[in-house]
Amino acid sequence: MADNAEILSGLSEIVEEVAGIDAGDVSAEKSFVDDLDIDSLSMVEIAVQAEDKFGVKIPDEQLAELKTVGDAVDYIAKNQ
């Protein structure tokens, strides 16, 4: 089980790989859409990779609720 810091770090790497955003620019308070300019299809790719990495399920309905990086970290922490 990864702790929140590990999840944030792992998620940042995924965001960098999928969206080409420097992992160092990804932090908990950033909004995926408004701050990081990540579109809905890239969000799906991030979710798929996060599922593999952290052993969680992130359905499309849930994905829409994850507005910030912190929301995603919390969701993964609770559901892993």
């Binding site: 809905s40 299809l41 799906v44 979710a47 499309d60």
Partner: protein
């Protein structure tokens, strides 16, 4: 005592003898669509990868497009319509289910009394048709099969639905299959196919407006996770490895799906210099026609050469999927 039935002699397999395609004249640009629905050129390019698409005229029928594509494939094969004995039209957009498209298409081309049937596996239709056609030849049931993917998707669009009207388009593509004289010249590999009927509502024509609707995000997730494994299975069934693939031609659903499938195949050993079809940019998503359209266009512009090993991967409504390795004529 039961009668003993005679079967024709089997042949080693099938190969592609010729390829052809047809697109309507009218071009619809992203800017044209932006005048009608709330969208813009940049959004469409980024999300879907389409710059322009072709739209059939009101009086231009699906079977007209199918016949044009079929005729050009027969010509490319160096044959005449009289040489064809079986016509398969993969389509999901006939205005009415009766009569079928294949018999009318054959008549328009001038193929006399062929076995003719339609096949509906939506965007996977061409790969299903190639699989069926190649096996008919291998079993000795047919000798020369014309496989056509033809769609008039614009008959089934809600032009106020910006999630679909920007994506789908019209066109037709075709391949002529014939028997391979020996095992070394077999040019159509075994088909890897399947379906997921539990997900059928993801892409469907809705009752209330008779228009195509799809859950874009869910389809994207399905396609980017489930299709590369199907493609890899087709490679394995053909006795090859991903590094043997010269050309990847996935159904042109969305450029980002195409790129994702290519990326996953490269992670499994496909070459960096593998040519990847991007025909959607100028053709849009033409469902069953997209793979043969891409193949024909890439042969014309020299990106695909005779003898290249191509991996065809169809996937879409049903949900249905099918893939096979072919040797380009």
């Amino acid at each position: 005592m039961s009668a003993r039935l005679t079967l024709p002699a089997a042949v080693p397999g099938a190969r592609i003898l010729g390829v052809g395609s047809y697109q309507p004249e009218k071009i619809l640009t992203n800017d044209d669509l932006a005048k009608r629905v709330d969208t813009n050129d940049q959004w469409i390019r980024e999300r879907v990868g389409i710059v322009e698409r072709r739209v059939a005229a009101e009086d231009e029928l699906l079977v007209d497009m199918a016949a044009e594509a079929g005729r050009s494939a027969v010509k490319d094969a160096g044959l005449t319509p009289a040489d064809v004995d079986t016509v398969i039209v993969a389509t999901c957009t006939m205005r009415y289910p009766i009569p079928n498209a294949a018999a009318q298409t054959a008549e328009k081309i001038g193929v006399s009394a062929p076995g003719a049937f339609d096949l509906n596996a939506a965007c996977a239709g061409f790969s299903y048709g190639m699989g069926a056609g190649a096996d008919l030849i291998r079993a000795g049931s047919a000798r020369t099969v014309l496989v056509i993917g033809a769609e008039k998707l614009t008959d089934w669009l809600d032009w106020d639905d910006r999630s679909t009207c920007i994506i789908f388009a019209d066109g037709a593509g075709a391949a002529v299959l014939g028997p391979a004289p020996d095992a070394e010249s077999v040019g159509v590999g075994p088909v890897a196919w399947g379906s997921a009927g539990d997900l059928s509502s993801m892409i469907e024509i809705r009752e209330h407006n008779q228009a195509l609707a799809q859950e874009g995000q869910s389809v994207f997730r399905w396609a980017t996770t489930k299709i590369a494994p199907v493609a890899l299975r087709a490679v394995e069934l053909a006795g090859l490895t991903p590094a043997d693939i010269d050309v990847l031609i996935p159904h042109q659903a969305n450029l980002r799906i195409v790129e994702s499938v290519a990326k996953r195949l490269r992670a499994k050993g496909a070459r960096e210099d593998m040519v990847v079809a991007d025909d959607i940019i100028h053709s849009g998503n033409t469902s069953s026609a997209s793979i043969p359209l891409a193949l024909d266009h890439m042969r014309a512009d020299g990106r695909v050469r005779s003898g290249d090993v191509a991996l065809l991967v169809g996937f879409g409504a049903g949900l249905s999927y099918a893939a096979q390795v072919v040797v380009c004529p």
